[in-house]
Symmetry: C2
Subunit: 594 residues, 2 copies
């Protein structure tokens, strides 16, 4: 017996020992290995030439100037001016008492911003985000873009070129020509499984702008709660929200949309239907289908998906969507359409009668057709708005079209591909779905491989980095129809306590995939840049989690959300500064009077 | 082809539909299901009788009183008085403007605290933490304990009995007799893979006290960095820390130990050796074994585990440990001893020669004996201190004893069982290890099933809840030798950005297992209490992550770490209060003078 135990131990000892042997002596170095990047840009620009010649920035004299072209027009200044203010704060993070004089150094005296096209109030799918940035050895840096949105991207890049050496803000002589690979680069937040206070949404918008993400897909309501406060139908949140503190007023939404706009981020609302509507049914049970109890369905609610047989449902949606369209400014509206379970419809006489009227069979194909009918009527609602509005739908709507053979859905609808084959869900692989969607002529966005709510032990961002929306067999025209992707963070296990750390920097991997050239695929090579980027986000007040044993010069601390650089993000810590200002004034007044 | 695609879709649709069907209509309710617990206690007391008769607390008149016995002795007051201050703040969280008058209600006017035994300055493994708590309908509540440590546990319980109804602080008539099942209930934090600023350590000590955890195992240094600032050997952190901002000064450590003491928490330092010492080698390469390059070992450091052949190594450790013993006040010292790789020792002539002198074979058994020899010499060092100090070692030290057949290690050493069989590591199961350890007469603590650094999707606390340190075959005497457990949070993927959310409330599951009766095993029944406990922690400023779709009355928000109740934890937000006070004074002075 004792011998047996000994043998087991010997075997186990040898097993674990050999594997770790080669690695062990590097652990001290490993933890510092990625700390070599200085002034690198994330996501990587399309074209960048960097010299080793470094210049200094003088926080006291550096200036942004604008060329007297579009950049000085009201439409451009509206976005550009607040951005210059934000980036001025982001540029100089070294605490005043730790700064070293740059006198005698070659300096970058100014950045001249030029906008050559016209500026729109809101960013859109068609916005030109290209820019070129020149930091010459003369020190007169220039940033040129077609639009204010491009200028925002260029300012972000410029701010990332700056690095810290011995108390000085430095950057290297650099030439950049940049534009995104995909026009739709999104992050999806779910505020229904858990409510997310507005300051957290804004903080994530800051982080998105640091990653050149230009779409905030707001999955605002779902089965679990309805936090959107509708003026037209107050009972939706009045009865469907978790609590009356857990709601977004129209002013809240408007402030989020404005905050996003100033960062070149579109806010696309999702009001998911006809499934995922239990919370709607709390205030408006008439919207939902009454299911007849069956052997597998005996619960007390008896309410299933939207009652798609009643005109009143469409009238309700028309009035609600009209209100939503006015608050959210984007041309696109996400209609949802995922995970509808047909059994409740099957069990309901009203639905059955309606289907017979419409000539739909009482089969899975028929119900697929029914859902397609419903969604197309909602798309018609969108089309009827004074400002043309188009729909985005989850892939089931397209799959239903295939199933029923009835391609009812307008071709200018975007299909949002999300299913995949893993242990949590058995679906079709995205590289099998995208060829079908694009062959049918639809635009597509991909989320399947970027479900950031799924977590696992260790360094997982390289997985997200490896995924490519063009990873399918199809023609150039088909590839062209894939307009981008989104990283969704479903919120079953996420709320304000952990949302930022869970999202960042994991979403950054998707951000680079969606912005940078397709050829950039080496996660190991990207690792030092990722490390610098994560520490930069931490320094800027984004609680981005670590990606392996290491450290940041500016570690996260406890005073406020971060005790380092004030972000220029407006909502964060503003009260603190006002308070300090007041305190200072009071002290002056008080002691002045004595 | 089209038919094939259709078939695939039908099959997939049916697959996912049926499984979700029964569940779907409950989602709205599911998110609210656990919100039924009010004034429940976590961890569950040994014995609790609660009536439905509820009393109110009046924040303006409620008082703590102390019986004129030990509770009024200096030794007890030292711990009790600051605790009463903390719990006064924790008791009344409803914002003043939202409070409703309790006049006319039956009220709990006071809690009289009585301590019948003697108080020690520091908690220890032998401390009596029992208490009894009586909230009678008369409203004169009493708490009686043997020691201040028991009184702390009782105060925590009392504070958890309080719940909120319509603007009032309420609690029910209750009788509790309580004591822990295990005397050693710990959380391990690793400050070497990432540095953790002191305020975060203190915040976790707060959270530990809310969970009646009484041991903070501080894995302070490791291969990656050496943040402990030694006066004797300043080069250890001077060259081994990540940066000179990322260090714990003796004053830092002392403030942590004091903060913990006041919460009845022991701080056990771990200075892991002879492996895991790369960072030590930066400042003191002479401590480590020079490995000869071999085919599988060609790196530049050539430094392996401690050089156990040199007396100078033991002298170094003696002087360092002496300093550590003086800063950390606990009777126990964790010597580490895990994951030592013998190949470097094998390759070193000095070690080989020493082994021949000692009569150790040049075999795995011989090296196991060598490590045992080394650790026992360190234990002798501990034993030689003016205040008797005992060792805790990771299980390899015991396994080596088995392997070599040479049970060198003192019997009063505690064996820390951590290995387990999973995909990350192939080790022996704890229920096979604990019988061996306890049969040999050693005390044991268990960590194998509570590695909170490993994460997975979804609700994982029931797994931790299910694990029991007595889950092995052994005599009553053997069971008695298992003195508790610890939940370790190794910090490869954890720093200040995510440590609190990752640890809580997952560690709470282990906390209840280690405190409450063994018979309490139903995680589903515990779920509403867990939900209340997690929201209570959030309300108190602990960033505990959600455990499924739901909400808290006091959601986490962004102003500071939480914009709700001031915790009485000292370090949190104190500057804010001072600032507000100053501001108020200034305003009064300013406008007073006008």
């Amino acid at each position: 017996m004792k011998l047996l135990v000994c043998c087991v131990f010997v075997v186990l000892a040898c097993q674990s020992t050999l594997a770790d042997w080669v690695r062990q002596p590097f652990w001290y170095d490993d933890a510092r290995r990625d700390k070599v990047a200085k002034g690198t840009v994330w996501p990587q620009p399309k074209s960048i030439q960097t010299s080793t010649q470094s210049l200094s920035l003088n926080p006291d004299s550096f200036s942004f100037t604008t060329t007297a072209n579009s950049a000085t027009s009201d439409a451009c200044k509206d976005v550009l001016d607040p951005a210059l203010e934000r980036y001025r704060a982001l540029l100089f993070w070294i605490p005043a008492d730790a700064r070293v004089s740059v006198s005698g150094d070659s300096v970058v005296g100014s950045l001249r911003v030029s906008i050559t096209g016209t500026c729109t109030k809101y960013p859109s799918l068609d916005s030109d985000e290209s820019y070129s940035l020149e930091v010459p050895s003369s020190g007169e840096a220039t940033l040129s873009a077609q639009t204010a949105w491009g200028a925002l991207r260029g300012l972000e890049t410029f701010s990332q070129l700056v690095y810290e050496v011995d108390g000085k803000h430095k950057l290297n002589v650099t030439t950049i020509n940049d534009e995104p690979r995909f026009p739709h680069r999104g992050v999806m937040l779910d505020t229904a499984r858990h409510f997310l206070p507005v300051p957290y949404i804004k903080q994530n918008l800051d982080a998105m702008s640091y990653n050149k993400i230009n779409v905030f897909h707001w999955h605002i309501v779902d089965d679990q709660s309805f936090p959107f406060q509708s003026k037209t139908y107050p009972d939706l949140s009045g009865k469907g929200a978790y609590t009356q503190d857990n709601v977004y007023s129209p002013e809240d939404v408007q402030s989020v949309v404005e905050y996003a706009r100033l960062r070149g981020i579109r806010v696309i609302p999702e009001f998911d239907s006809p499934g995922h509507m239990q919370s709607w049914g709390q205030g408006h049970p008439e919207l939902l289908t009454s299911c007849s109890p069956t052997s597998i369905q005996q619960d007390i609610y008896h309410l299933g998906p939207a009652n798609v047989a009643r005109n009143s449902t469409y009238d309700f949606m028309q009035r609600l969507f009209q209100e939503i369209r006015e608050v959210f400014a984007d041309d696109y509206f996400h209609l949802g359409g995922d995970e509808v379970h047909f059994q409740c419809w099957m069990s309901n006489d009203e639905i059955q009668q309606f289907m017979r009227q419409q000539g739909f069979q009482n089969t899975t194909e028929g119900f697929a057709q029914l859902e397609g009918y419903y969604i197309q009527r909602l798309i018609n609602v969108l089309n009827g708005f004074p400002t043309r509005t188009r729909g985005i739908v989850w892939q089931e709507i397209f799959d239903n079209n295939i199933l029923s053979g009835d391609f009812t859905i307008d071709l200018d609808t975007i299909i949002h591909v999300w299913q995949w084959n893993n242990s949590n869900f058995q679906g079709i692989q995205y590289w099998d779905e995208l060829p079908l969607v694009t062959a049918a002529g639809y635009k597509a966005i991909l989320s399947s491989c970027w479900y950031l709510n799924f977590i696992s032990y260790g360094r997982d961002w390289p997985e997200y980095y490896a995924c490519d929306p063009h990873n399918f067999t199809g023609t150039a025209q088909q590839k062209q129809l894939v307009i981008g992707g989104e990283a969704p963070l479903w919120a079953e296990w996420v709320d304000a306590t952990n949302v930022v750390a869970r999202l960042w920097p994991r979403a950054s991997a998707a951000a680079e995939r969606l912005w940078s050239p397709q050829t950039l695929t080496d996660a190991t090579a990207a690792s030092p840049r990722m490390e610098e980027h994560r520490c930069r986000m931490v320094r800027r007040g984004i609680r981005a989690q670590p990606q392996g044993p290491s450290y940041c010069k500016y570690e996260w601390n406890l005073a406020g959300e971060s005790n380092y650089v004030p972000t220029a993000s407006g909502a964060l810590g503003m009260m603190g500064y006002i308070q300090q200002l007041l305190l200072f004034c009071c002290l002056v007044l008080t002691f002045g009077f004595w």
